[in-house]
């Protein structure tokens, strides 16, 4: 019974994390970059939103500002990677660390800034889950449609090709570095936007918001794709799957909480889920398939063997 009561909240929060997971999908799946900036940019989105709301800004402005703050964080990671040659995973970690200071600064040195749901008109709040679900549903749908259209444009196609095959992209005069920076900006923009929704929903921004967000995002992606790829392996269905994955994740999360597990231990659960999903393809390859033997098939006159480029 308690579970049924918790369900709408789980769905609402799941949609928020699902939106964030779309951002993670862009970096991890489309650009093929494991971007750890997101742990920081979720929080940046939350902080920007809470602080602006506290100053009386209208909520739409707060959300847009959150998006651009996140996008800026993505640009920093992108530049660390492309202009300074830092491996992408480290670039993300560095930005994430920078963001901790930035977020503290935004919060004015406090570790928590509360949002008064009566003082400002919020898009989502846990006091009204139905409304939150509808609002998030609209946001998620709009994001998916916007991305779907974007990836049909010339620029969108080069973003896809950059992640899919950077060698081919460069050979076709695609500025791979620019694509990566742009992609990371969009990705973190969406992540921070989700962060701003999270702050509204919970009624506060906390300096610890977003810790482990990358793992939640990946869990949502893996859960979602394990279903959606079987239905139809295209972009929109994948994104819908990813959002679904976020919702499933949060339903499981609330269920486990109801069973009495402390939320602190849930991070362990998330990490294990993701580790399993990451390991399965490798284990399959390594232990359940046999390598085909190579056979020589050259009959022409040759100088050398020509095995490598």
């Amino acid at each position: 019974m308690a579970f049924i009561y918790a369900l709408p909240g789980a769905v609402a929060e799941g949609l928020i994390w699902g939106l964030m997971a779309i951002g993670v999908y862009l970096s991890y799946k489309v650009l093929d970059i494991a971007d750890l900036t997101v742990d920081g940019s979720v929080c940046t989105g939350a902080c920007v939103c809470a602080v602006l709301l506290a100053r009386g800004a209208p909520v739409w402005l707060c959300v847009i500002a959150a998006f651009f703050a996140g996008a800026l964080a993505g640009v920093i990671t992108g530049l660390l990677h492309t202009a300074l040659g830092i491996p992408s995973i480290l670039a993300g970690i560095l930005t994430q660390l920078m963001l901790y200071s930035v977020n503290l600064y935004i919060l004015g040195g406090r570790s928590l800034v509360a949002i008064n749901p009566r003082a400002s008109k919020l898009l989502v709040h846990m006091s009204n889950n139905l409304r939150s679900i509808v609002a998030m549903g609209i946001f998620v749908t709009a994001t998916i449609i916007a991305l779907w259209l974007f990836f049909y444009t010339e620029i969108g196609l080069t973003l896809k090709s950059t992640g899919d095959n950077p060698d081919m992209s460069r050979a076709q005069s695609v500025n791979v570095k620019f694509s990566q920076v742009l992609g990371l900006a969009i990705s973190n923009g969406i992540v921070a936007l989700a962060g701003s929704m999270l702050a509204q929903y919970k009624g506060s921004a906390n300096i610890n918001d977003g810790r482990g967000a990358i793992v939640i995002g990946l869990a949502a992606i893996f859960i979602g794709l394990s279903v959606s790829l079987k239905i139809k392996p295209n972009f929109v269905v994948s994104l819908i799957g990813v959002v679904g994955g976020g919702i499933v994740y949060y339903i499981v999360y609330s269920f486990v909480i109801l069973l009495g597990l402390k939320t602190d231990y849930l991070k362990m659960l998330s990490a294990i889920i993701v580790a399993v999903f990451l390991a399965v393809p490798y284990l399959k390859r390594e232990y359940f398939t046999r390598q085909r033997e190579l056979h020589p098939n050259d009959t022409n006159a040759r100088i050398g063997g020509g095995e490598n480029a």
């Binding site: 444009t153 010339e154 196609l157 095959n165 005069s173 695609v174 022409n300 006159a301």
Partner: protein, 263 residues
């Protein structure tokens, strides 16, 4: 057309692994030249093509394409002038994208990508016609993911992509080496057709000496980072595999390469 002057490249300089891959290359190609490049493993053939393509910058020397000094130009900007097909059929196409999308990206090589529709309707018609010329049954699969195709099909598409937007120079690095014995000659023939139809200036690396003789109007042989043989015109037409092997033996200092295989 292409003018390479005293090009030098040493990998891992100053270490025990230092390797001089290009040791002062001078090469001058005229418009419409189709040059085949041979040489043993490690001779520096791929390194030469990579230098032209701008994968990295040379230590010394200059590269000019059509009077433009491209030596310092980044790879993606130089791509405006170049069509490239790699030895690895996986390298030239984006597997997770549709055939039409791959072609559309190639059709915009050298242009600024904009915020407009990436594959227009009329393009699809054009691509369909072009794919039909390959005679691989790909004309009805514009929306298929390239990753689903065979190596030969992918290589044929890469060739199409490399020449869709007429390049000033076509670079082929053993582009048929990874294909099976039936597919390889087909792709090679296709190459010949495309090169002749568009009068493309071409550099083609091959390990197959018969192919090296049969195609193109000029042949160069590389050894230890240098061009050691350069034959063109009638002399090249009359060349035989034996003569080429002899030239190779002389050039490489007498010893016949262990890996040399004759059928």
């Amino acid at each position: 057309m292409l003018k390479i002057t005293n090009l030098q490249k040493t990998f891992n300089p100053g270490t025990v692994n230092a390797k001089t891959a290009l040791d002062g290359i001078d090469l001058h190609l005229k418009n419409g030249d189709f040059v085949t490049v041979i040489g043993s493993n490690g001779a520096g053939k791929s390194t030469l093509l990579n230098a032209i393509a701008g994968v990295w910058k040379p230590d010394f020397g200059t590269i000019e394409i059509d009077g433009i000094d491209v030596t310092q130009m980044p790879e993606y900007r130089r791509a405006k002038f170049l069509g490239r097909v790699f030895q690895d059929p996986m390298k030239g196409t984006a597997p997770d994208m549709e055939i039409a999308e791959n072609l559309a990206i190639a059709a915009r090589r050298g242009t600024k990508r904009r915020f407009v529709w990436g594959v227009r309707k009329e393009e699809r018609v054009r691509y369909k016609k072009l794919l039909a010329t390959l005679e691989l049954g790909l004309e009805d699969r514009l929306s298929s993911k390239v990753g689903l195709l065979s190596g030969g099909q992918r290589q044929a598409i890469t060739l199409l992509m490399a020449t869709l937007n007429r390049p000033k120079l076509l670079l082929l690095d053993e582009h048929t080496a990874a294909l099976d014995p039936k597919t390889a000659p087909k792709v090679l023939e296709l190459t010949d057709q495309i090169v002749h139809k568009n009068k493309l200036t071409t550099l083609m690396i091959t390990h197959n000496m018969k192919d090296a003789i049969a195609h193109g109007n000029r042949l160069i042989m590389m050894h230890e980072g240098r061009i050691v043989v350069d034959i063109s015109g009638d002399e090249k037409k009359k060349l035989t595999v034996e003569q080429l092997l002899n030239l190779f033996t002389q050039a490489s200092g007498g010893a016949v390469d262990d890996e040399m295989v004759l059928s």
